[in-house]
């Protein structure tokens, strides 16, 4: 089998892994070496599904001894199998990198023979890249659940980012759908990586030349929509992962049926893209906007509002916090205003040191006034001619796409308090992302 065929099979097998950012570490080029890294990450292309292509994302091999029901590479599935040799993969990575096609390599693998053996193959590839080729670009390696701690440590010294896929949001789902991967076999390497990173930070303070362990941190991924877990459960899990394991990112992958099984959704199920979108929006709120999962959802409201994004939904349900005075409110409060993002909030802080801000200045700064006017005052004054009503606010906050989802006979009677008449088909359409 030549490299072309192997690449086709092994990139096709890797495409359901959502993580692909090349962010988290800045590293200049070295003399005699090839490659550098930028903390913001660089997108080299965008695939037909709209997702960013930043790394060469492949499996080392799609031969697998595990039998996870949702996975196209499961042992009992009839699919062409292939494996890269470390030299082939290193060569391919370097030649793509030289042509500026990629920022680096994203390497995962099916489990061939055993987790330890698989890890050793991956390490061999990375050692070729870092050692012989003096590759200074980005490497994201997946730690194989069940592999020995010493191998994970070696992997972390070669890669920039490590991840272990959590796969499913609850232990029950994991037992049902991926019986070979226990909760322990996933959380244990995650814990090892977290402590490895912490120890490395201390080492680096003591010895500046200490080798770096996973400098771009750790991330994980979970599949959304394969099991009946609620959004609240997922967000609480993500929050716990960020706090307890110090993860940099959690990725959510809308379940795309590739297998049929009695335990999985039907094969004609569309991927729940809107739900995935809401989860990412909530994830951003947790990481950058100072929200907690319990503020966004609770036991009575377990899933996200399909019509409003989580931040607007929170604002509409907590009008007692508004209006906020732009010229004096603290940063954390400004962040909670719909229409003010991180950049606008930072600019407001800078600009208001110089002089009082009014509505035209806010527009120049980049605040989305269409939304924000319902929630702010400038020097105590509301925007000219504005009348604050829940219906008006709701209409300003709802995106055009979601407004089109509402039944048309509602017309001017959009009300926050009366639930719009939705048919079951509408709800299904929302969940599956069809607009």
């Amino acid at each position: 089998m030549d490299v072309f065929q192997k690449l086709t099979i092994l990139s096709d097998a890797a495409k359901y892994d959502a993580a692909c950012t090349s962010s988290g570490v800045t590293r200049g080029g070295s003399k005699g070496g090839l490659g550098s890294a930028q903390a913001c990450g660089i997108c080299h292309s965008f695939a037909g599904d709209g997702r960013c292509i930043s790394l060469l994302k492949v499996l080392m091999t799609n031969i697998c001894v595990f039998d996870c029901k949702y996975c196209v590479n499961r042992r009992t599935n009839e699919t062409p199998r292939a494996a890269f040799t470390p030299r082939e993969l290193a060569d391919l990575t370097i030649q793509f990198y030289r042509r500026n096609y990629i920022e680096g390599l994203f390497l995962s693998s099916g489990v061939i023979q055993s987790p330890d053996y698989t890890c050793e193959q991956m390490i061999a590839t990375l050692e070729l890249l870092r050692g012989e080729y003096r590759f200074g670009g980005y490497i994201h390696a997946k730690a194989i659940p069940g592999a020995d701690g010493a191998l994970i440590e070696r992997l972390g010294l070669l890669a920039d980012r490590l991840s272990v896929n959590i796969e499913l949001p609850s232990q029950e789902s994991l037992k049902l759908l991926a019986p070979d991967k226990s909760k322990h076999s996933i959380l244990q390497p995650m814990g090892l990586i977290t402590s490895g990173i912490k120890e490395n930070c201390t080492d680096l303070v003591k010895y500046r030349a200490a080798p770096k362990f996973a400098p771009a941190g750790q991330s994980t991924q979970m599949i959304i929509g394969a099991t009946p877990d609620s959004d609240f459960k997922i967000m609480r899990l993500s929050q716990g992962l960020y706090r307890r394991f110090g993860l940099k990112r959690v990725f959510y992958s809308a379940y795309t049926p590739v297998q049929s099984d009695a335990l999985l959704p039907a094969t004609d199920t569309k991927p729940p893209l809107l739900r995935e979108h809401r989860l990412y929006q909530a994830d951003w709120l947790l990481r950058f906007y100072g929200f907690e999962a319990e503020e966004l959802l609770d036991d009575a409201h377990e899933n996200f509002n399909l019509f409003l994004d989580p931040k607007c939904n929170w604002a509409m349900n907590h009008m007692e916090h508004f209006p906020v005075e732009i010229n004096s409110a603290p940063y954390e409060t400004l962040l909670r205003v719909p229409g003010i993002g991180v950049r606008s909030a930072q600019r407001i802080l800078v600009a208001r040191r110089i002089g009082r801000l009014d509505y035209p200045s806010l527009k120049k700064i980049g605040v989305v006034l269409k939304r924000a006017v319902y929630f702010i005052t400038c020097s105590g004054k509301l925007s000219d001619g504005l009348k604050i009503t829940p219906e008006g606010a709701f209409r300003a906050l709802i995106s055009e796409r979601c407004a089109a989802m509402l039944p048309s006979q509602q017309g001017d009677q959009l009300s926050l308090f009366a639930t719009p008449e939705l048919t079951r088909e509408d709800v299904v359409k929302c969940l599956t992302g069809e607009m």
Binding site: G29, A47, D49, R51, S54, R98, V350, I365
Partner: protein
């Protein structure tokens, strides 16, 4: 400043030329209505003054810009790389405002002039950032060559990135839109004008890697999530012409300067 007559300045499209416009306006106590490149085809009906670029004038103004602080200087330099018409007057007004208020100018984000210049600068740096990803090299006998057609003049912004990343390689980036090129070999770089570029025929190894990349690009998309609108909004069509993987999909226009030798 009291304006005797309405006047329009013509300058030679260089940064030094723009600084001399600033110098001239202070010497003559006048404010131009517009600052246009000297090769502008349609000149307005106002009185026109051609500004001669002198080293001394440019130097004096450049040294005085240090009063505005590092961020303002960066904004001015990046805004000048922008390709939009009217950038010169915006930068001119920014400099004048800076002389009046000092380093605070870069913090007056609600002000119309400041906001305009910062947006010009951001557009240039943003395109440079996109281009670090969208630029594609081809290997011709060990030398890497790329062709780009940016809206703004971003070669100076690409230089530090690529010279650091490919410090051991020899590469050449041809900016077709501006007729300039960045050439690098270890460890020195140069930016200079280039009229035309004749690329040699790609050899079999190069063609093979292009095929591999295209195959990877096609395979990695998840069919059930296909979304051409999302793809286009992240990767504007104007970049597709020189993207290896979009060669069949790029807007068709015969590239006149690519001749196979």
């Amino acid at each position: 400043m009291p304006d005797g007559r309405d006047v329009v300045y013509l300058y030679d499209r260089t940064f030094d030329g723009l600084l001399c416009c600033v110098f001239e306006s202070y010497v003559r106590h006048e404010t131009p209505l517009a600052i246009l490149p000297e090769d502008t085809p349609q000149l307005p009906l106002y009185a026109v003054r051609e500004i001669v670029t002198t080293r001394e004038g440019a130097q004096r103004v450049y040294l005085s810009l240090s009063k505005l602080g590092a961020l303002a200087n960066e904004m001015i330099e990046h805004a000048f790389l922008n390709g939009d018409a009217g950038k010169e007057l915006a930068i001119f007004q920014y400099i004048r405002l800076g002389y009046r208020v000092g380093p605070r100018v870069s913090e007056m984000l609600g002000d119309g002039i400041v906001s305009r210049v910062h947006k010009l600068a951001l557009a240039a740096t943003h395109e440079a950032h996109l281009m670090t990803g969208f630029l594609r090299f081809s290997d011709y006998s060990g030398r890497l060559v790329a062709v780009v057609e940016p809206k703004h003049f971003i070669l100076p912004l690409l230089q530090p990135h690529f010279c650091s990343r490919f410090s051991s390689e020899q590469f050449f980036i041809y900016d077709k839109a501006h007729g300039m090129a960045l050439a690098y070999r270890p460890y020195e770089a140069r930016i200079f004008p280039v009229d035309d570029l004749a690329l040699p025929q790609a050899d079999e190894t190069e063609l093979q890697f292009r095929r591999l990349w295209k195959q990877y690009f096609e395979t990695i998309a998840i069919e059930a999530r296909r979304n051409p609108l999302c793809q286009r909004s992240h990767m504007p069509k104007r970049f597709w012409k020189h993207l290896t993987e979009m060669q069949e999909h790029a807007p068709q226009k015969a590239p006149p300067s690519e001749r196979l030798s």
